[in-house]
Structure formats: structure tokens, C-alpha cells
Amino acid sequence: MTLDFKARVRARGFDLTFGVKTGETIAVMGPNGAGKSTLLGLLAGLVHADQGHARLDDRTLFDATAGSRAWTQPHRRGVALLAQEALLFPHLSVLDNVAFGPRSTGASRQEARAVARQWLTEVDAAELGGRRPAALSGGQAQRVGVARALAADPSLLLLDEPLSALDIGAAPALRRLLKRVLADRTALLVTHDPLDALVLADRVLVIEGGRLVDDGPTREVFAHPRTAFVAGLAGMNLVTGVRSADGIEATDGWKVVAPFEAEVARGASSAIVVKPSLVRVSHLKPGRAEGNAVWQTILDVEPRGDSIRIRGDMLAADVTPAAAADLDLAPGDTAWFAFSADAGVGYAL
């Protein structure tokens, strides 16, 4: 275990425990205000924990358990942070920005610059060394930011939505770069984009309200969402309830029929996911043959790729533009949403 983390910050309602293995890249996901920034701050040494302890390799980052009170200063932690914006030092050249880490930890100017050149080459930015940060595009700056963070030779790399401030055109190239440099590196990646999690991370931690709500291999977490937030990321409808004879009985009493992946005891809390493209919308009550149907209020209607997504308070449906025009639904209207008995997949929570 490289990182062993347990911390509580009362003022922010934050209480989290997890571990990271050496070389593992973990995506941290959660709605805004879930505590992702607090987590990064605790690891980088910018936020203090009320309780808990964290060890990285054989170094104590902080220890606020009963009886002991240790805290390692940010610059001694071996934890580098790459934020949304590259935050390159505007008064230093690109090369000296990358050389900053080695230079600060005792390397001579020449050694530091040699390391910096190496890392600039690694991120395909060797030709930018002489430039000022102000003369870089967003994508170039973030590349240099990656090189600067890695040049510091961190035991743990923290990435705080590194792709979110980039143009759509620049993100794929940087994602490929990150995939390459994160391959055997211990890193925590905060992201809102399921694609980043799938491409870059081995594991996903889902945080909501300062607590861990899911933790597992990326594909597994998205295939079996446990919360509405993850289901939303995965683009799925999620209905939770308890196992009934042929499906689940949802929390509000709605009986949903769906096949289960594995045997789940009756009464155990379970979930069913169904793709929005398999949900149909109509003004007339569907017949029994239609399977599961629910009468709900429309929250919004928005184009999404080739189809139109109609979102209700429980289910969302993707319909063709022609069908959407025929239905003529607007937020606040009500309609029937239905999916067949074999459209969903059930699993235990």
C-alpha cells in the first residue's frame, strides 16, 4: 500500500477512508461540493484534518489520532499538484518552470535544467523551453504543467480536473499524454468526465457529501451505479428499491420487472439500470405488454447527439427528433414513460 488515508474535517462534513496501491491511478468523482477539493487539499497539505492519519510510502503526511499530532509541511510530502489551470509561474521561462521542482529540492541550476529538458521532451514540448508562459496556448501550458509536476519526482501526483479548462480540440492530445505518463504512476485524478476515468484510471472513488459511496474498478462502477450521480455519469436510468419476485419494488412503491444478473434474496436492497434509449414516452397509458410504466412530470427536454433526451423526475428517455416533435412535450407537462420487462438489468446494492 503506497497511500493509506483516513481523515475527518468536521467543518466540511468530510469523513473518508481509502488506500492506494503503488502505481495505481484512481479517479475521484462526485458532485460539486462533495469534498474532492478537500481531499486534494488534505493530501497536498493545504487543508488540516481534525482527525485521522495519512501515510505515503514510509512518510507520515499527517497524524491527528488521539495522542499524536504530526503534520508534514507541503514541500516535504512528495505530493505534486496539477490544477485545472496550469498556473505556470509567469515570471519564469517554460524551462525554468519545469526546473523549479528539482531546483527547489537542491539540484544545481544545470542539473535542474537538464531534468527539465528531459521532461519537456517527454511531454512533446521541448521546443517551448525558451518561451514565457504567457505565450503558450491552454493545451501547451497544461502540457508544461504536467512536465513541471513530474519533474518534481512526486511519490503521489494529484490532478485536479486537468482537462476541464482546455478547448475541446486540445483535450484528446493531453488525455493521451496523461495516459502515457500515468501508466505506472501513483496518482489521484479528480474529474467530471467518465471518459477520463475510463481511459486514465484503474479504479474510481465516488464521493458524495464528504463520504465514500462507491469504490471499485472503473468499468464495474459505471456498469453497476449505486447512486443517481454515477448513473447520470454513465448515462443510465437508475431505480433503487428492494428485491421482489420478478424485479424490484422501488422506494415509492412502483413495481419494476427486470431480469437480475445474479440471485439476490428477496427484500435485499437492489437496483435496476436501464438505458434511456430503451425508454419510450407516450401520452396514452401503455398496455401491460409494455412492461414497466410510470406517469411523471417532465423536467427538461434537450437535444443530445442524434436524439432528444426527455428527462422526467425518475426516468429519462432518448427519442428521435420526429417522435419528440409529435409528443410536443415541455418542462412541466406530464407523460407516460415505459420500458419492457427485459430492458433493464438488476443487481444487488
Binding site: Q73, H75, F100, S104
Partner: protein
Amino acid sequence: MDQNRRMTRTRAHLAGVPRWVAVLAGVGAAFVLLPLVAIVSRVNWVDFVPLITSDSSVAALLLSLRTSLAATALCVVFGVPIAIVLARATFPGQRIARSLVLLPLVLPPVVGGIALLYTFGRRGLLSSTFQFLGIDIAFSTTAVILAQTFVAIPFLILSLEGAIRTAGARYEAVAATLGAAPTTVLRRVTLPLLLPALVSGAILSFARALGEFGATLTFAGSLQGTTRTLPLEIYLQLETDPDTAVALSLVLVAVAVFVVGLAYRNGSVPSGPSGADR
């Protein structure tokens, strides 16, 4: 679009400023500028050079420049740490400390001089310390420098503290996670980023030190060559030789205008580099 371009091309327009505001602004500006015109109009240009190169004038001018530079250096040495602590650290009584540090800004300089006299003077608070060290501060050039530092340091602190707050601590946080110890961060990140604000703050402090009169007279007295700075010399000459007083005043005005010009060219409105690109 087109209309905007046409409007910027016209030479002067009020851009929505009510006319009466512009009129009041004009009156206010005249109130500030007219006295300068009055000084220039009263200058005896025939004897101008001899007047400002007399022994006492040159002595006063050189003393003023020397002491003001020394005071500016002291302002930087102590003002920068004060600004950093006020802007970044949190400690009990911070707001009170902040107001007190800026007190010299609103205190009548004479009162400042009296305060200094009762601190560093022969029977002052620290007199025994300085007597022990064999130093007598009051009525010496050192006293002039202390008086100037006392009144000028708030300018540096204000200018710098604002810039530090605007710049935020994000660059510093990144530098720390890259392995830089606090002193390294200060030297290689904070101070370089604050340089424009530091320079303009130092220039303003210098200007204030140069113009210092009340605290100097009270605390340091008026000995030619030792404590009689240019403002003191001007005040003294006004009684006996108004022509010299006016000529020296013009010199001081010229220096002040030059210094303020420098500060503004440097971007005296403190906006840290990150403040601009945010």
C-alpha cells in the same frame, strides 16, 4: 460595433458620466493644479540656479535625498514582512494590528514626532537601551530617517498588501507542492510576482519621506546639514528669503511629479500578475 468604433474615434466624450460630475471634477482638478501654477508663476527665474545651489540649499537637498533613500530602504526591509504577515497569516487581533500599523497615515505628523521623541528620545521608552549602546538618536540624522520611515511605511504596506491579496496564494501552493520550502517560495515566487507593486510602493514611500516635515521637526530638529531636510529649509527660508523658498519648492514639486510619474508608469494600481489573467 460600428457605432462603438465611431464613438472611440471622437476626441472626448462623457461616456455616460453626468455633466455636473464632470464639472465638479474640473473644479477639483483646478483646486489641485492651480497652486502648482502659482508657485511656478512666483519663481524668480533670473536667480533660480544660484538660489537652489547655495550651500544651505544643496546641503538640505542632499540630506533629503540621503535620508529619504535610507528611509525607503527601511520601509522595504520591514514593510514587506508586515504586508506579507497581514495579508497571508491569520492571528488574533489581526484587524486591530492592521489598523494600528496604518495609523501613521492618519496621525498628524507632529504627533508622530512627539511619539517618536518619547520612544527614542533622551528620556524616552527605549532611552536606557540606547544609552547603554552609546547611541543618541534624537536630533540626529538617524532621527530624520526614523521619522521619515514612520510616516512613509504605511504607503508601502498598503500598496503591497493589496497586491498580495489580489494575487492570491495559488502560485505559492503549487510551488510548495513542487518541493519548495517557504523561504524559497518567498524568494522565487512571491517576491518576483509582487515586484511591480513593491516598486510602486517603494516609490510612494520615498515621495512621502521626501516631503516629511512635522515629525522631522519635532523629533529631529532643524540643524543645517544634519537634520534640516529640504521641506524644513523651505519653511525656514519663507521667513527671510521667499525667493529661495519658492525656488526650492519648485525643485521639490519637480521631484514629486517625477516620482509619482514613475510610480504610475510602473502600474501603481496594484494588480498582481494572476489578478490580471484571472
